[in-house]
Amino acid sequence: MPPRLGDFELLILQLMTRLESDSHGAVIRDAVEHSVGRLVSPGAIYNTLDRLERRGLVRSRLGEPTAKRGGKRKRHYRLEPAGVTALEETRASLLSLVTTLGALPVAKP
């Protein structure tokens, strides 16, 4: 059974499926901000990506240094097949939870 994903991890993996296959941190952060509608710190994004990478769900590589980034190299992230599987399984389990909850009668106050 693949490890369960946290809310933020799920969001990032979900967004990465829509982004181009080799997206970097800034692009992912923009997407997350658009999605949640508030500022998100870059540190939070990278920490989550680190966690996902340690679990083998995404993989990172360093690109070439560019002048725009003050000579610093860009880190690209790619969704791994294990990440896709984990995403699908978590989505399925959440949907089933929602379905179960929907079927339960709601107690009226």
Binding site: H24, G25, A26, R29, D30, L39, V40, S41, P42, G43, A44, Y46, N47, D50, K68, R69, G70, K72, R73, K74, R75
Partner: protein, 865 residues
């Protein structure tokens, strides 16, 4: 276009270390893009928002992780098991912290009880004493004159209320026995000054006219014990043995202690007793009739002791212009400063020195924990390898530190309690003051607070060690680098401990030698084996002499009693000080009048005190009754007023009669041990209030027999107190004794703790270098050489600490300046001896672990590595 510089630098700091460059690069790119589309101002604002969001994220993460580190019962259980497996470490750590916290709890109890807690009067900070003195001796605390008192009471606006007081004694007969009531006379303002009201009764608005019985308030204790708390005694007459008659106007509040703890001044006839008084007699202070005396006052709102002293100077000037007082100076002293005396400055210093001991103890515990963390690294690594998180290890470390601190606090409370009892034992006559030192809630909170801070600081040590190395099973190289770093930290701690120890030991030696100098100063008499009897025989003077003579004969017959004498004022008590004028009637200095202090003695006083007779003779029994009694002078008076001559047989005029000088004795320090002896005369005199002085082989053991002899001599004898003269000598050096004894304890603790720390550090270093020593031994080095290597390293480390300690010692010596007697405050000898002592102890302490290290079997050690 670049991102805002400061925000960018801050963001780098707040970002995860592994992604600083990624984030910086991403945001630089983002900033350029945003500035191009929205303009640089908006881009900068948004950049700053991102920085704020990052900071908030870090804060939330910190709080979350702190909450995750809550100690659970299982952590405490595991920590307890780990500590139980290392009992040596646990006991050393607990004793170390117990001692460090204990001395601080004791000192804080003293500071809290004496300095921070107000005196037991309403708004006690506003209370002052007013003393008068001659401009020639402005430091003496003498009484005010009636004219001064009158002006102060009526014209000085710095005070809202004033009162003049003096001591008084009354003798009350109950059956055949006599009892002495001690109390004060006071003007009516004292109730207002102290902010109290009588328990029952009231201050009459007008005092009775002269010749009428005076108004008296009796103490609550006398009222309950002798009058059965009878309300109807108000307005009743009260008669004493000498036919002095009073009218009871009321009862003083229960538990009132005034003057509190320390009498305002001694000498010149004021034999104030501190604490509860049996009575207050009200004295009139109508304009022009002020009695003068020692004055006390309450400062007006917004006034201060300085302002009051300035106002008092105005009183002096006014009286001088008026021709009613010349060469006088009035001073105001806050009651708190008078009660506490030098303790005001001694205690904060001692508290600082106690903190030194705590720092040493914390350093010691820190080095123990460092060494332990390094030694148990493998255990921690195994735990991590088995899935333990760093937070778990941190919790474990905190649980260990917490257990040690809890046990340390318990030990410290026991030690502080014992210390408080020790202080009370050190100065039994200062019970009123020292009983204020209690072990209460603020002290508990203070110790707990310090221990908590120490536990947090010390709990982080294993974390710091782990955080700098990988979490995987440590490779040998990483372990070695950790050990080197730990060794450096340990050396730093040893240096700090040694420096603090040298400073404390040098300070303790400075005070101890100073105390020794004061106590062993040649006072001119021998206070040992002398019993003082404060007795009163309240009978007409003619009747007193034969009774006292009988008493002397009886006491002389007691086994072990060597000599019996009387003195009007026991040395060093300053109960009475007599100054008299002596006119020289012979020789070149004829007609010269000199003022010198005197002492009234009888029977074998000089034998009792073992005061050497240098020429002539001392008094005999017939001298007591001669109207032209002879006098004895001391050698200082002889040298000053009869230079180059033998004064024996010379005549002087005193109290209107020509007196013969019959003997010369050695000068004595009668007023204070620290004050040089002064020219003095002795006069034969005996009355019912003279103090009995008995030299006996074992005064304490014979006190009961003496008491019986006194009581059987006449039932009217009142025995107030019987005590060894040495207790007075000890009392006069109270602050020096407390300072010296406590600092000696601190010094010994500091050295003990520092040496334990040093031995631990050397041992740790030796264990870490076992492989190196094995190689050296295998290559032909001798054990002696290895020992020398280890000891040399220890000496290098302690040497740095000791050098720093010498510098710190100079500061400590400076802070003790006012407590040092007869020595230069900067006592190089104390510092040098302290440094040498620490050096020798350290070198000796280093030898054992060094020898253990050198005794390693090279093959076994190499195989283990």
């Amino acid at each position: 276009m670049n991102a805002p510089r400061w925000s960018r630098a801050l963001l780098r700091r707040l970002s995860p270390q592994a992604h600083r460059d990624d984030i910086d690069g991403d945001l630089s790119e983002w900033f350029e893009r945003t500035a191009a589309s929205l303009g640089p101002r908006r881009a900068r604002r948004q950049y700053r928002r991102i920085v704020i969001a990052t900071a908030l994220d870090r804060l939330k993460a910190g709080v979350r992780s702190a909450l995750r580190w809550r100690l659970g019962l299982s952590d405490v259980r595991v920590a307890a098991r780990r500590l139980a497996a290392a009992p040596g470490f646990f006991i050393t750590a607990v004793i170390t912290m117990g001692l460090g916290l204990g001395v601080n709890a004791l000192l804080f109890s003293a500071v809290n009880g004496l300095l921070l807690r107000p005196l037991p009067f309403h708004d006690a900070d506003g209370l002052v004493w007013i003393f008068g003195a001659s401009t020639k001796t402005p430091d003496t605390r003498d009484t005010t004159t009636g004219a001064e008192g009158d002006l102060i009471a009526r014209h000085v606006t710095e005070f809202t209320a004033t009162a003049a007081i003096g001591d008084a004694g009354l003798v009350r007969g109950v059956g055949a026995r006599h009892h002495r009531w001690h109390g004060i006379w006071t003007t009516t303002g004292l109730f207002q000054v102290l902010g109290i009201a009588p328990a029952i009764g009231a201050v009459p608005p007008v005092l009775p006219a002269d010749g009428q019985p005076r108004v008296i308030f009796i103490s609550h204790e006398r009222w309950t014990s002798e009058f059965g708390s009878d309300d109807s005694i108000l307005g009743q007459p009260l008669q004493f043995e000498d036919n002095k008659r009073f009218v009871i106007a009321g009862v003083l509040p229960a538990g009132l202690e005034f003057p509190f703890a320390r009498a305002p001044h001694k000498g010149h006839g004021a034999g104030f007793q501190s604490g509860d008084q049996d009575f207050w007699i009200l004295a009139p202070d109508r304009p022009g009739e002020h009695p003068g005396g020692v004055m006390t006052a309450r400062l007006a709102a917004g006034s201060s002791v300085t302002k009051a002293t300035s106002a008092l100077a105005g009183v002096n000037r006014a009286l001088e212009l008026d021709g009613r007082g010349r060469d006088r100076v009035l001073t105001a002293v806050s009651m708190r400063d008078q009660v506490l005396g030098p303790l005001v400055s001694v205690l904060p210093r001692l508290q600082a020195f106690a903190l030194f001991v705590l720092l040493i103890a914390c350093g010691n515990l820190g080095s123990l924990m460092l060494a332990r963390a390094s030694a148990t690294r493998v255990d921690s690594d195994v735990r991590v390898a088995l899935g333990a998180r760093t937070s778990h290890l941190v919790r474990l470390a905190f649980a260990e530190a917490g257990i040690i601190m809890t046990a340390g606090i318990a030990l410290s409370w026991l030690l502080a309690g014992a210390g408080i009892r020790w202080l009370a034992w050190l100065a039994p006559r200062h019970d009123a003051l020292l009983s204020r030192i209690t072990f209460d809630l603020p002290v508990l909170l203070m110790t707990g607070g310090i221990a908590l801070v120490a536990a947090i600081a010390i709990g982080f040590i294993p974390v710091l060690i782990r955080s700098r190395t990988s979490n995987r099973l440590s490779a040998e190289s990483s372990q070695r680098s950790t050990s080197a770093r730990v060794q450096r930290s340990l050396n730093g701690l040893v240096i700090a401990q040694m420096a603090l120890s040298v400073a404390l030991v040098s300070g303790a030696m400075l005070l101890a030698t100073s105390l020794h100098r004061v106590i062993s100063v040649d006072a001119g008499y021998d206070a040992s084996d002398v019993l003082v009897g404060e007795t009163i025989l309240y009978v007409p003077p003619r009747e007193a002499l034969p009774i006292l003579d009988t008493l002397v004969q009886r006491l002389r017959q007691l086994p072990g009693v060597n000599a019996v004498g009387f003195v009007h004022s026991t040395p060093l008590t300053g109960q009475w000080v007599i100054d008299d004028e002596m006119e020289l009637v012979e020789g070149d200095a004829r007609g010269r009048i000199v003022k010198l202090s005197g002492s009234l003695v009888a029977y074998d006083y000089f034998d009792v005190m073992r005061i050497p007779v240098l020429a002539g003779r001392v008094f005999t029994a017939p001298d007591l009754t001669r109207p032209d009694f002879p006098i004895v002078i001391n050698d200082l008076a002889a040298a000053r007023y009869f230079p180059g001559k033998n004064p024996v047989g010379a005549h002087v005029r005193m109290t209107g009669r020509v007196r013969e000088i019959v003997g010369v004795v050695k000068a004595t320090r009668d007023v204070r041990l620290e004050t040089e002896p002064q020219p003095q005369f002795y006069q034969p005199w005996l009355s019912g209030t003279s103090n009995l002085m008995v030299r006996a082989e074992n005064p304490k053991a014979q006190a009961a027999a003496m008491r019986q002899a006194i009581e059987s001599a006449d039932p009217r004898f009142i025995i107030q107190r019987l005590y060894p003269l040495t207790t007075i000598v000890e009392d006069t050096v109270l602050e020096r004794r407390i300072g010296s004894h406590l600092l000696t304890v601190f010094g010994v603790l500091a050295v003990g703790l520092a040496v334990v720390g040093l031995v631990g550090v050397i041992h740790f270093g030796a264990v870490q270098r076992r492989r190196e020593f094995a190689v050296r031994l295998a290559l032909g080095a001798t054990r002696r050489e290895v020992v020398r290597l280890v000891v040399a390293q220890a000496i290098r480390t302690t040497g740095i600490g000791i050098s720093l300690g010498c510098m710190l010692g100079i500061l400590v010596a400076g802070s003790l300046q006012h407590l040092v007697f007869g020595a230069q405050p900067l006592d190089w000898l104390s510092i040098a001896v302290a440094a040498a002592l620490l050096f020798c102890i350290s070198a000796a302490a280093a030898t054992r672990p060094a020898w253990t290290a050198a005794s390693v079997d090279p093959l076994a050690a190499l195989r283990r590595n």
